[in-house]
Amino acid sequence: MKFTEEHEWLREEDGLIVVGITEHAATQLGDIVFVELPEVGTTVSKDDEIVVIESVKAASDILAPLDGEIVEVNEALADAPATVNDDAMEGGWFFKMKPSDLSPMDDYMDEAAYKKMID
């Protein structure tokens, strides 16, 4: 698993990249009450703002970590946005994308480096 400085986690799964935010980020955001996800089929460029997370405190953007196409989104978050707080690393995933350029993956952190960053 890889981590971005924006507190996203990226997991490779059957040639796709699954993206969510870390438990640390979810805790910092507070109780999450709404997640706006991109539409399936959208072509995105790295650093596009593609997810909006609303907590009881504020709205935050999540950036596309790679170029590619959104192939699946976590529809369950529409009715249960708090899943991001309760299960950030598994059930609280946001979207799966088919990357067109995997090279930025080399620049992202491994778990040890991410843990060091948030310490």
């Binding site: 109780d31 709404f34 706006e36 009881v56 405190k57």
Partner: protein, 374 residues
Amino acid sequence: MSALQHTALHKLHLELGAKMVPFAGYDMPVQYPLGVMKEHQHTREKAGLFDVSHMGQVVVQGDSYAQAALALETLLPVDILDLAENRQRYGFFTNDAGGIEDDLMLVNRGDHVFIVVNAACKVADIARVKAALEPKVTVTELTDRALLALQGPAAEAVLSKLDTKAAQMRFMDVATLKLDGIEVWASRSGYTGEDGYEISVPAEYAEALARTLLAHEDVAPIGLGARDALRLEAGLCLYGHDIDATTSPIEAALTWAIQKTRRPGGARAGGYPGASIIEDHLANGAPRKRVGLRPEGRAPMREGVELFATQTSAEPIGTITSGGFGPTVNGPVAMGYVTGDSAKPGTVIYGALRGKRLPLTVTQLPFIAANFKR
């Protein structure tokens, strides 16, 4: 920037694990480990303890209560003279443009008027009252007192265990209570839409009193985050957001707080800053009105979102002044100003959110029924 001030409970907030933020020049708890959502629900179901010591507690003293009250009436469109002893009333300072300089609570404490003003406005409020009314009255900020709020359906049971007089108070009554040996001034009021008390206590005893109240199993400490969501659901204005120097009390739907005696035809009509403009709004209607708004769907719409009559209309009809997620409503809630016919409950209007126009329904305030003991 000068250093943040601390309230008498600062050490306790840190001990309780609060996340602290700067607010109106003070280092204040925005939330405790329970989190905003659970703190909100705890207040609605049991009782929450809030530190509101950053607010200004001010004594306005004249030769008599009546003299101080009449002097203050030159600055507020509120009937202060006829307020009964040990009763509290909501009011606001106005300006020459008919706008609101601050909103406040006023108490008749026998021989003086006791007022509680917003933290961010207290320096300006005190300067304004002094400039206008001294030497007829003296204006003294009580910097040696803290202010706690105990809010929620369990508040009466918690407080009356310490002094049975607490249970005899009705909404907006004020009394001197003795809580665990500490003499306090309590009012049966608050800023959550729940039954509860605001308790003015000498700063040196504030921490001991807070610990006594928190020792009750039904009481949890609540931060400013939940306080904001609670007051929004209750339809209560936040100064600097829902009301300010440019909003008239009529536009702000606070007409109820201007008693008949201060309106045209009343015994003490007018005589406060901006009276002619406010009287014009009273007689002919205000150009815009503060309303409740329920966004459809789940996406919160926050302060600053522009409002439109239709999905395509070019000119906005108003702006959201407070908005967020209402944990008790279990959905997004907001307040804002709209013009003309759009203020009618049931009207569907549109908010511009991230490039889309999403529908909201104009809704009666409050969003949740008030739970006061009248």
